[in-house]
Amino acid sequence: MIEFRSVGKTYRSLRGQAVPAVTDFNLSVNQGEVLGLAGPNGAGKSTLIGLLLGYLPPTTGALSIDGLAPRAYVERHGIGYLSELVAIPPAWRTEHALARFALLAGVARGAVAARVNAVIDMIELGEHRKKLIKHLSKGNLQRVGLAQALLCDERVIIFDEPTHGLDPVWTQRFRDLVGALRRPDRVIFIASHNLDELQRISDRVAIIDHGRLQRVVDLRAPNTGGTDARYRLTIAGGVEHIADVFPDAVMCGHNEFDLPARPLGQLNRQLSDLIARGGLVVSVSPAQSTLERQFREAVGQ
């Protein structure tokens, strides 16, 4: 549904110097997919989103949404978009802002009030509906931004740092919301610095650095217990047996040990041995998520 073909974007400084922001970016995003976009600051994520919304023209290559140039697609169908910084005139009231955006999103005039009420209920903005935008907290403003992105039944939704400023409760609810928004004919594009969040909600994550696509991590692929993952072991008893059972373990806290990568079978055998010796295992988990590990490798950290 979304195709990036050798897309490049170069800015020109006032002195005429070329500043490449995105270089030779190739990616296809299919319908029904939730695609995460991760990268360090200045990697080119915002430029990619600007290109996708047709706000910026590519310098080289082409990108299309449903076979149309981005601007043409947006002007025909609209895109549900939550920007990183929510910019809404401060003198507007929440419900008025949503009513305005609903009209512009193509909601029929007679259905605006009902649609606004529906998103206000969905995002739980009821107590803030009469407030001026300038009187909203950062988190509530972010929720208004989220609400305006969901006013219409868009087939393409772009969230740029969606949980920025949200409290833990709403961060969790956002994940549920993305789950509810999933649809076979819809693409959800999420740019975030929060790898844990992307790991939980994305099907694939594109990692970008210095304007180039470094790799695409498919999180739907079954975890085969690769040999390159380190583990974190936490125990409540039997610490004296650790050196015998896990000679390569490194203590990293009270009753916590870092275990270098090993095959899953070997790990399970060693754990059985530890338990047989009287060790009390509290938890064993990957020291880094798959995505985090891949991200670190991709951006060379």
Binding site: G67, H77, S83, A91, G106, R155
Partner: protein
Amino acid sequence: MTAPTATSAPRRHAHLLPYALWQCRDYTINIAAISIILFGLLGMLEVMQLHAAEIVMAASPDFAVTLARMQQGSFQQLFSMYATVGPIVALSGVVSQDRSLGYVRFLFAKPLNPIHFYLQSFVVRAAGFFAVGGVLLKAYRQFEPSADVPRIAAGLALAFVAYGGILFLWSVLSKYDGLCVVAFLLLSVLVWGKWEASTRLIHVVTYAFPPVDKFSGLDNWVSGVNALDSRAAAVFPTKWVVWTVCYGVACLVLGVVLLRKRPLARA
């Protein structure tokens, strides 16, 4: 870029016409109130001066003639001020504010053509400019006589297209659109004053600027005052009005073209 292909999703349109009501509301709150206060105060000062002069000159033998001239001159001054500064106040930030404050991001993710949106905004602001002009005129007429309403309306319309078109272009180009237009109009006056009569090639520079000074002849026509001969009827300065209005329209068209060509937002 990519050739458009048939898409399964139904096409949607922003409901721009109903949105005009919101734009009217914004104009009333943000611009009309300030315009009425600003130009209303200037009008009050002018009326107070006229009344003071009436008292002083009441004993003069040609009081009626002098008073009529003073009233015409006073109205002309007020009209000139509103016709020149009014469009700048009305249109300041029409495009640039949305860009510089980032409002474009949510606006143009909707199924909305920026050209349609800003042209509607231009029309709404024109209507607001007329409405405010009407309120000011009605208030002024409570105290002093004014020119014919059709002439005033025509004068305001021409001034709005001329100055408004220039401002629209600057609003697409710069976030300091109001300041840029004021500087540009002052520069135009300077350029025309310096090189209009020149016989050298530099004379062609004047064609790049609107003949603002000449366009102010429109104020004389509206108020019925002949600047050179007070007994003669004021003449409509056709050449200069056509020139300046065409300049404004050309700027408006160029602004619309650039609106499409320039990036809508920075990354």
